[in-house]
């Protein structure tokens, strides 16, 4: 047994010894220990260094609000920084290290910052480092030079770069009642609601349910409170309408009673189970919520209140009663309220000497004096602690008589020898979730605390959360809340009887003892009482300015203990009551949440992959895949030793010489069905579709309402009332929503249904001089000759036993056909076509060759229909019907959209016969040193095997009028400049004789 570990008591299992290391030193603890309790049991006093002054710090708390004892937990190369030691459950093999110190925790070179104390006051950064106004360090340079060192000095732990192999999962949950907090109030609420038959979830951030019952040493129904809690939990655990979530922090209260919680599923295990996540993120939609989140004890602000060995009173009580660990042998207390006396008794019982209790109040009740006597402690009523002594551990403190009425210190200081000082500055209800839910807290003068407001969402409070600090009240309120939340009738049964330590819940309104020395308000950010007063002097008096100017409450503990003392000091400086200074609104999360849990199941697989039916074939046949939105498409089918350019040139060339085949399954496909389908398409497209014959297809253009080009594609009329619309791959979803919007919102009278059938059809486009011969060789049930299948005609037939639909249309500019089959047959049809094409020299081609052939033809895609171009800009004005209105027709002629200096589509030919780059600009005169005068840019470029030239499509100011003139490409980013000829965008076969053939 270590000298500070008691032989009995607490939740730890003394028979199980656990081995771990901290800063490389091996320690042992017991099952049930936190890193904090295990180290404390071994006499460790120094846990961390403060953020700014690098002061040595010990444990302040025993829970989630710990500001000082932050550690990094290592799992191999994976690092978890900034975890409070109070929240780390030890397990065999745990490796933890301290942070923000060099070279070691005990000897930290940056502790020299303490010497600059007054200079490093609040806001000092804003007043200096601006540097000289001339010379080499003018502008931002001097600041950036200083900042380099400041950044290295700042920061707590280090993040890793190694990928975390752990799993993170998300879970959606629905329940009638979510109870947050499992103290006596929460347990009663959960039990009562469950008895009503409600679906209940009970969450607590601690591993052990019970809250204060685990350490208060009160008795409930004649049994120790902890036993009562254990029994209540066991009853709940057996019910199938209850889900218990230990180690679960409910951190966010969002709209419509949606709450977010983080369950630490396997952090406390040596190894997670197979498939078991590390963290589980619960998104809980609760009909009602019971907030039984308890309260945080506040520190007192006095000189030296941050010295290792100074701790919150209830934290010491927890260490003694829950973990069997004494935080010191000679313990002193400093309080402004009755609750600390309970701690004094507990520590005495656990074996410590309680040497003194300093209480700022001059008058103390007889019950309290009795408790002090029980603790065998000397009472110093009307006294305050004015200093602490010691280095990396407390050795003593100084007391002075204190006048509560005016805050004055009177008489001589008196020294007391102690190795641990417990403080209690009253309690702040944990109202964070209620505040997140949208309401402002209300100040209660008696409790000297912000209490929860009236609910703005469906929640009910119970226990210390509401400012009812006694267990009896918690139990009564918990039951009432459980009933109300479950919507049940009031239960007449008898409430459990509580035997509690006496005490008045109201503290004296004392927050700070003003004496010489640094008095800390925000421990983690090193914000002192003087910093708050400096902020006041400089006019940063609103609570938000105070927070931002001093960084009070912005550290990882988010001001859980520092907020109210900070406000109180500002209020005093302003001579105003605390509520007039205000309170900050709490925002999610209540406590820091792992980013892994929030990313949850998408971690490592951000978006699902969309695969065409021929995907596996492409992979097996040397395709290099290209990610297009969520889709994967072949970019090239490379041969050994080929570059990308060699491959696409070969593919395009072969297509134009014999035939090529490309997977077009990703094109958006929408079934447009119903008696008004044709009329609807007339409104949607700029051109006419009602005149399209059944069995024919037509190219269509859509505009947005604002008159700009939106999308294009062919639409096939399969029946009188049955159309198959195709869209670009990228816009498939947008077009679908566009159509649905008009049908549902604008023209509900139209009888038209639209259905996404993108996935229903596999599509293969086969084109080239021999394409028809290939089809003729493998398609049965129909002829594919010119008469049966003219340009834009559609036939149905069979291919290798599979029904197919074939439309003769062309993107490549060749005689080409799109062969559609049921997607389940796509690979089968594809293979049959490839096989049939072999004697004809058919090649498979990818996006690069597809792009090359479309550039040669001057067809537009998303690079040109970029949301800023009009039909006219793209020379598609021939498609704007004058016979009917269509979406966008009313807006397309506005002055800005018909201006003469708009960017218009042109073709470019490189006169220096060097390759172009996408995104290069066009200028009239090249100025390599000082590029300027852009008149447009390249949208797509390639080497054209058909023309034997490097060509590009470009959008150029007044481009149409410039055709036949010369300009220059200007690409300073890639240092490519050179002369070009501006030509029509139709480079190849402009009259379409090849595809009409």
């Amino acid at each position: 047994m270590s000298p500070r570990r008691a032989d009995t008591g607490g939740r730890i299992d003394r028979l199980k010894t656990i081995r771990f290391t901290f800063d490389g030193t091996a320690y042992t603890g017991h099952a049930g220990d936190t890193l904090a309790s295990a180290l404390l049991a071994k006499g460790v006093t120094l846990y961390g260094r403060s953020f700014k002054y690098h002061r040595p710090r010990g444990l302040l708390t025993a829970g989630v609000e710990e500001p000082n004892a932050l550690v990094t937990v290592l799992k191999g190369e994976v690092r978890e920084p900034n975890i409070p030691a109070t929240m780390v459950e030890i397990h065999d093999g745990l490796v933890a290290i301290s942070q923000n110190r060099f070279p070691s925790l005990a000897w930290d070179i940056n502790a020299v910052n303490q010497l600059g104390g007054n200079i490093l006051s609040a806001g000092f950064y804003y007043k200096t480092f601006m540097g000289p106004v001339f010379g080499p360090l003018k502008g931002t340079r001097f600041w950036m030079f200083c900042e380099h060192f400041i950044r290295r000095a700042a920061g707590l732990g280090s993040a890793g770069t190694a990928k975390d192999p752990a799993r993170y999962e998300r879970m959606n949950a629905f329940c009638d009642v979510l109870v947050v907090g499992s103290g006596p109030a929460g347990l009663m609420a959960a039990r009562t609601a469950a008895d009503q038959g409600a679906r209940v979830m009970l969450a607590d951030l601690e591993p052990l349910f019970g809250g204060s019952a685990n350490w208060s040493e009160e008795s409930i129904d004649g049994a120790p409170a902890a036993d009562w809690a254990r029994r209540a939990v066991a009853q709940l655990a057996g019910r199938d309408n209850v889900r218990l979530l230990p180690r679960t922090t409910v951190w966010g209260y969002y709209d419509n009673n949606t709450l977010a919680a983080l369950e630490r599923v396997s952090d406390h295990k040596d190894q997670p189970g197979k498939g078991e996540p590390r963290h589980r993120y619960w998104a809980i939609r609760a009909k009602s919520v019971v907030l039984a989140t308890g309260a945080f004890e506040r520190p007192l602000v006095f000189p030296g209140n941050d010295r290792p060995g100074v701790m919150l009173a209830h934290a010491a009580e927890r260490y003694a009663n829950e973990f069997g660990v004494l935080p010191g042998e000679r313990i002193a207390l400093f309080t402004n309220n009755d609750s600390a006396y309970r701690a004094a008794v507990a520590l005495k019982k656990a074996g410590a000497a309680v040497v003194a209790i300093a209480d700022v109040r001059p008058e103390l009740s007889p019950e309290i004096r009795k408790l002090a006597a029980e603790a065998e402690a000397e009472i110093f009523a009307g006294h305050a602690v004015v200093a602490t002594e010691g280095g990396k551990a407390l050795s003593g403190l100084k007391l002075q008589r204190f006048d509560m009425a005016n805050g004055a210190l009177i008489g001589d200081a008196r020294s007391i020898h102690a190795d641990c000082l417990l403080m209690s500055g009253g309690w702040s209800p944990t109202i964070h979730l209620a505040s997140q839910a949208g309401a402002k807290a209300e100040w209660n003068a008696a409790r000297q605390a912000f209490l929860p407001p009236k609910p703005t969402q469906s929640w009910i409070g119970a226990g210390a959360f509401t400012g009812s600090f006694s267990t009896a009240e918690a139990i009564a309120e918990g039951r009432a809340a459980g009933l109300a939340a479950a919507g049940g009738p009031s239960a007449p049964s008898v409430l459990p009887v509580v035997e509690a330590v006496p005490g008045d819940p109201d503290p004296a309104p004392v927050f700070e003892i003003r004496a010489k020395g640094k008095s800390f308000v925000d421990f983690q950010h090193d914000v002192t009482a003087e910093d708050v007063r400096l902020a006041h002097r400089e006019g940063f008096v609103s609570v938000e300015h105070l927070k931002r100017y001093t960084t009070l409450g912005m550290a990882t503990d988010q001001g859980k203990s520092s907020n109210v003392p900070g406000l109180a000091i500002m209020a005093e400086a302003l001579g105003k009551p605390i509520p007039e200074v205000g309170t900050t609104r709490f925002r999610p999360p209540f406590a820091p949440v792992s980013i892994g849990s929030l990313a949850a199941e998408r971690f490592g697989d951000l978006k699902p992959e969309r695969l065409t039916p021929m995907h596996d074939w492409h992979l097996a046949n040397s395709a290099t895949m290209y990610s297009a939105g969520l889709w994967y498409r072949p970019m090239i089918y490379g041969h050994a030793g080929e570059t990308v350019e060699q491959a696409y040139v070969r593919e395009a060339k072969a297509t134009r010489e014999s035939a090529g085949i490309v997977d077009v399954s990703t094109l958006g496909k929408i079934a447009v069905q119903g008696p008004d389908a044709a009329a609807f398409l007339d409104r949607v497209y700029t051109n006419m579709f009602s005149t399209l014959a059944v069995g024919k297809a037509r190219y269509g253009l859509m505009l947005r309402e604002d008159g700009l080009a939106f999308d294009d594609g062919t639409t096939w009329r399969l029946g009188e009332q049955d159309f198959l619309m195709t869209t670009t791959t990228a816009n498939a979803g947008k077009v679908m929503q566009h159509l649905e919007y008009f049908l549902d919102v604008i023209w509900p009278e139209l009888k038209v249904h639209v259905t996404s059938v993108t996935d229903e059809w596999a599509g293969a486009a086969i084109g080239g001089p021999k394409a028809r011969q290939i089809l003729a060789a493998c398609v049965t049930g129909t002829s594919v000759d010119n008469a049966t299948l003219p340009f834009m005609g559609i036939v149905r037939g069979e291919l290798s036993g599979v029904p197919v639909m074939i439309c003769r249309l062309s993107f490549s500019g060749e005689m080409a056909f799109e062969v559609y089959s049921g997607a389940g047959h796509g690979a089968h049809v594809w293979e049959a076509l490839v096989e049939a094409g072999k004697p004809f020299g058919l090649v498979t081609y990818g996006l690069e060759a597809l792009g090359t052939m479309r550039i040669e033809k001057g067809h537009v895609t998303g690079a040109e229909i970029d949301g800023r171009t009009t039909a006219r800009d793209l020379h598609l004005d021939w498609m704007l019907s004058k016979k009917k209105p269509f979406i966008g027709s009313a807006m397309m002629d506005r002055e800005g959209l018909i201006a003469s200096d708009r960017l218009e589509l042109v073709g470019l030919i490189a006169l220096d016969n060097l390759p172009f780059n996408g995104g290069a600009h066009i200028v009239e005169e090249v100025d390599e040193a000082n590029p300027h005068g852009s008149i447009g840019h390249i949208t797509a470029c390639c080497y054209s095997p058909a023309l034997g030239r490097h060509i590009a499509l470009a959008l150029v100011k007044g481009g149409k009028a410039r055709q036949g003139t010369r300009a220059h490409v200007s690409d300073p980013l890639r240092n490519r400049f050179g002369p070009v000829e501006i030509v029509s965008n139709h480079f190849f076969d402009p009259d379409g004789s090849r595809m009409h053939g």
Binding site: R199, K607, P608, P675, G801, V802, A823, H825
Partner: protein, 200 residues
């Protein structure tokens, strides 16, 4: 065996479909995953006011009498039907030819028939932890009172749109777009590892 007129359609799950037990199965298999591969999946949509006629047509073709209510549905183990949107229904059948059968009875005056037999993949998840695993993906309440047997739901998991029919107390049939099916299947297997699963 169901008779097919054309070659067996290929499943997009193929390379990721590993029959056998996986994950934490040593502690018991609590999830069974399979692909049901119906021969037909059809979407039916009625014009406003014509829903009753469409429901009658469904009964004529499948013999299934749709229960009342949004998302209502039922399954006889061979044929399944459920509502997924106002006036819209998904019907699946082990046999092929459902679209043709409906085309005969759903006249243009009643509504439309859209064949999705190739476009949707039907994945079945069964077992005591089916609700637990599905809750990892979809933000809908899978509890039996909220989602009764036979009923259908349209929902999404990020980009993956899904229609889900509960075909028994602990069994759900999930219809997803074919192009997303492999991604979804992989995610479903991954999420089932924790409880142990078997692919059949």
């Amino acid at each position: 065996m169901v008779e097919r007129q054309s070659p067996e359609p290929l499943s997009p799950l193929e390379p990721e479909f590993h029959v056998g037990s996986h994950g934490n199965f040593e502690h018991g298999v609590e999830i069974i995953l399979t692909e049901t591969r119906p021969g037909s999946i059809v979407q039916l949509a009625a014009w406003p006011g014509e829903e009753k006629k469409l429901i009658a047509a469904i009964r004529t073709v499948t013999g299934l009498a749709l229960p009342d209510g949004a998302g209502g549905g039922l399954s006889d183990g061979v044929k399944s039907v459920f509502g997924f949107a106002p006036g819209k229904f998904t019907v699946a059948d082990e046999a092929e030819g459902l679209a043709a059968a409906f085309a005969k009875v759903v006249t243009p005056a009643i509504g439309t028939v859209t064949d999705l037999s190739h476009g949707r993949i039907a994945i079945r998840i069964a077992g005591p932890k089916a609700e637990w695993v599905l809750a990892k993906f979809f933000a809908i309440d899978f509890a039996l009172p909220a989602f009764p047997v036979g009923a259908g739901r349209s929902t999404t998991h990020h980009d993956i749109f899904a229609q889900i029919q509960r075909t028994s107390a602990d069994q759900f049939d999930i219809y997803v777009f074919r192009s997303f099916a492999r991604s979804f299947w992989k995610a479903l297997c991954h999420a089932s590892e924790e409880v142990g699963y078997e692919v059949q």
